[in-house]
Structures are given as C-alpha cells and as structure tokens.
C-alpha cells in the first residue's frame, strides 16, 4: 500500500441485496475489518466480495469499468449520496480515508423507475441511451476532412460546450433528484451539442425529442433543488437546466414540424 499515514478501518456495511428486477430487495449487514484508508470504495467492496466468495455466498453485484472516474459505471448511493459524500467524485475515486473506523455505511442502488435494478447495486440505465438516440447526435457531411479552421468557434463558446461535454452519463443527477428527473443530463447534452455550429442543424428537434423521450422513459421533472449538480461527479452546472428550459421554449416557438413526432 505504501504512502504515509496508512491505517485500517473497521466498518459496518448495510448493503441493498436484490436477486433480480422482480425480486423484493432487502438490506444485509456486513462487518468489514482491516480496510486500508488508501483503498477506493470499490476496492473495499472487492474485499467484501472476496470474503463472500470464500464463504460460498453470492458476491455483491455492482457496475464498474474504468475505475478512473470517466466511464460513469460505478453507480451507487452511499449514505444517501450518489457516489458518496465527496463532491466532484465518482464512487471508484472515493477513498476510504473519507470514512472513520466504526462508521456505518448504507449502500443502495440508484433508485428511479427509469433505472430498474438488475441485481443488488447494478441498475439498467439504458433509458439514457434512448435519450441520446433521440437527439444526442450531429449531422456530418461524409467525405474529405474539412479544413481545420473552416468553422471558427470562439474560445469561450468552446469552453462552455466542453464543460457540458464533461458529463459521463452516470445517472447521479437522477439518483440525487428528489423527482428522479434527468434534466441535468439532457441539459448537458443539449448545451454541449447546441452551443457548437456542428450541432446547430438539429438544435430545435434535439431538445424537443430528448425531452419527450425523457418523459416517456418515466423520469420526473425538475423542481430546481440543485441536488443534481451537487451530486454530479463532473460538477455539471445547474445552469444547464435553465438553458434547457429556454431552449425548449425557443424550440417550441421555432419548430415548424406539426406532425406528431418531431424527428
């Protein structure tokens, strides 16, 4: 482990266990001992799972992939906070030094109708894929690569779009929202693509289609609590939601497609 000041922790874990989407879930308690303060939260769960496997029990199912804070897989709610208590951090980047020995830690899946539990802490977030498929794209001219400076983008616009593009689609905004709304996610995509000239042709239909898909998927709506932005590991600004609101109003006024689907 190395490092200075490494100590170990003894913890009381309360973990949501649910065998399949239809099953009734319940909390199970685990006493965990000798966890290094240098371990990440997922590594701590790995230690628990190793022990469960050795005891012939079913390990705790959770999603993970990159373990470096960019894939957005490690969705779980730790003591009521999506991705744990630390701002701007994914669960995989949350270190056990943030906890004290003797702490009780409650671990639940992200809870929303649109994110059904697959097993234990793993949830199905394909509702986000549906939202992306309905408008999270840009039209390109296939052919030779365009000139590098053919489409000038001012630095501040590029920076603003990039801040929205930092969204990793983890779903913490939905998990934190008292209404299970996905508006910060949709707002981030609408800002990211709509601010740039490449995304301009689809500007109106993007926002209308993505919002419609969001509603159809069973997400709630926004009551401006700002919990989403506080929970976001990429600290996507709440401003994205206000921007989404004005873009929606603008698209409603500008859109000329009156036949049901806007796509």
């Amino acid at each position: 482990m190395g490092g200075t000041g490494t100590t170990t922790l003894n913890l009381k874990l309360k973990v949501w266990r649910q065998n399949n989407p239809q099953a009734e879930g319940h909390f199970e308690d685990y006493d965990v001992e000798g966890i290094s303060t240098d371990a990440s939260f997922l590594e701590m769960l790995d230690v628990v799972n190793n022990r469960l496997v050795k005891e012939g029990k079913d390990p705790i199912a959770f999603d993970h992939d990159c373990r470096e804070g960019i894939c957005g897989s490690c969705s779980m709610t730790i003591n009521g906070n999506p991705h744990g208590p630390q701002r701007g951090t994914t669960t995989c980047q949350l270190h056990m030094r943030k906890f004290k020995t003797g702490d009780s830690i409650t671990v639940e899946p992200f809870r929303a109708k649109a994110f059904p539990v697959i097993k234990d802490l793993a949830v199905n977030r394909s509702a986000f894929d549906k939202i992306i498929a309905s408008g999270g794209y840009v039209s390109v001219n296939a052919g030779n690569a365009p000139d590098a400076n053919a489409r000038p983008v001012p630095k501040d616009v590029a920076a603003n779009a990039f801040m929205a593009a930092a969204c990793i689609g983890c779903g913490a905004c939905v998990a934190a929202c008292t209404n299970s709304s996905a508006m910060l996610f949709v707002g981030a995509k609408v800002s990211h693509l709509g601010l740039l000239p490449q995304g301009d042709p689809e500007r109106e239909r993007r926002v209308l289609n993505m919002m419609q898909t969001m509603e159809d998927a069973g997400f709630g709506n926004c009551s401006n609590t700002g919990a989403c932005s506080l929970a976001c590991p990429k600290e996507i600004s709440f401003e994205r939601i206000a921007n989404l609101n004005s873009e929606f109003l603008r698209a409603t006024v500008k859109n000329r497609n009156t036949s049901g689907s806007v796509g």
Partner: protein, 219 residues
C-alpha cells in the same frame, strides 16, 4: 397545446403564475399595514379596492392563475412520485444536500392552498359589519380582523401558514426564473439571496399583523 402538456411547459406555466402571485402577496401584505394606521385608513383602503370595477377582472385573474398553478403543481408532483416507486432509506446530506424547503414545495404548496380557501371563508366571505365614513357606507373589515385575531389558536395557525408562504416564496421566486430559462452565474446567485429576502419580508410582514392585533390593537 403539446407545449402545455409537456413537463417544461407546465413548469413554465407554474413559474409565470407563481411570479404573479408573488407580486400579489407582497402588495396584499403591504396594503394590510394600513391596519397599523387605524380602522378608518384600513377600511377606506378596502373600500377603494372593492369599489373599483377592475376588481372583478383582478379577482378572476387571481383565481384562474392559482388554479393553473395548483393543478399543474399537483400533476407534476404525481409524475414525480411515480418516478421513484422504491424510496431511498437515506437522503442526500452534507456537501450534497440541497436546501430543505426546495424538496417540500408540493407539501407547503398544498398547505397554502388549504389555508387560502380558509382565509377567504374567514375574511372575504366572513361576517359583514358596516361602518359609515363621510356619509359613505362601507364594510368594517377592520372590526372582523380584530375579532378573528383575538383567538390565540387562530393567530398561531395563521403564523404557521404564512411561514409556509415564506418558505414557498424563498424557493419559488428564484426557481421561477430558472424555469423560464433566465440564469446567469452571478445574477442568479443574487436572485437566490433575493428570494430568501422576499420570502422573509412577506412572511415577516404577515406575521407582524396578527401579533399587533393580538397584543396591541385588540386590547
């Protein structure tokens, strides 16, 4: 029409109607301060309002906007409840906790709606006393006010409800602008603080009035 059925459309309707009512409660609170001047000033102000033919238009607008606000709010709240069938055992806390009144808008909103109906029954449709100033007969609403605020239970209940109004405004005022898409990192932070100030002023004003009647004017 599709816009009005969408969640953002409904929320924007709530924002506009909410802002109208924010303005109304402030003017109502300010007008009521005439009770500190005396019965005659208060009654004449009341007479001035109800004798203006535009009052019917204003009343119709208030009823319509509160209905739109309440119906949209209830529909959105139901949609929100359905969006999370399995509740959490714990809610966000510490650095990730939103301010608490923002999570309870539907709750204090419902309380305010019930209070509003009760308030109208007590005052607008309450006992009619009449008084004559300078040969003009008008309603002595001040007498009814003094009577009603003699009851400690009524005063406590009234104060509880106007505190709910204050909380509702403190989030709703700022929230309305965000819902309408008006947001700027610097000005919105100021607007947020102003929302608290607005809620505090309205609730504080409305609290001072029954207390004044109970402890001073009614004696």
């Amino acid at each position: 029409m599709k816009y009005l059925m969408s969640t953002i459309g409904r929320k924007q309707l709530m924002a506009v109607t909410g802002l109208l009512w924010s303005g109304f409660v402030l003017s109502h609170m300010a007008g009521n301060f005439l009770m500190f001047v005396g019965a005659e000033a208060y009654n004449k102000y009341s007479y001035f309002l109800v004798s203006n033919p535009l009052i019917y238009l204003a009343e119709a607008a208030l009823v319509l906007t509160i209905l739109v606000h309440a119906v949209s709010g209830i529909r959105l709240a139901i949609q929100n409840r359905n969006a999370r069938p399995q509740k959490y055992s714990m809610t966000p806390s510490g650095d990730k906790a939103p301010r608490f009144q923002s999570r309870w808008m539907a709750f204090h909103g419902s309380l305010i709606l019930v209070f509003l109906v009760y308030h109208l029954i007590t005052f607008k449709f309450g006992t009619y006393y009449s008084v004559t100033y300078d040969g003009v007969e008008m309603r002595d609403i001040h007498r009814l006010l003094i009577e009603v605020f003699q009851s400690p239970a009524y005063v406590v209940g009234y104060i509880f409800c106007v505190i709910a109004v204050g909380f509702h405004l403190s989030h709703g005022f700022y929230s309305s602008f965000a819902t309408l898409g008006l947001y700027h990192p610097r000005y919105s932070a100021m607007l947020n603080k102003f929302g608290y100030f607005y809620g505090f002023i309205v609730a504080g004003g409305f609290i001072s009035q029954p207390l004044y009647v109970f402890f001073v004017a009614g004696k």
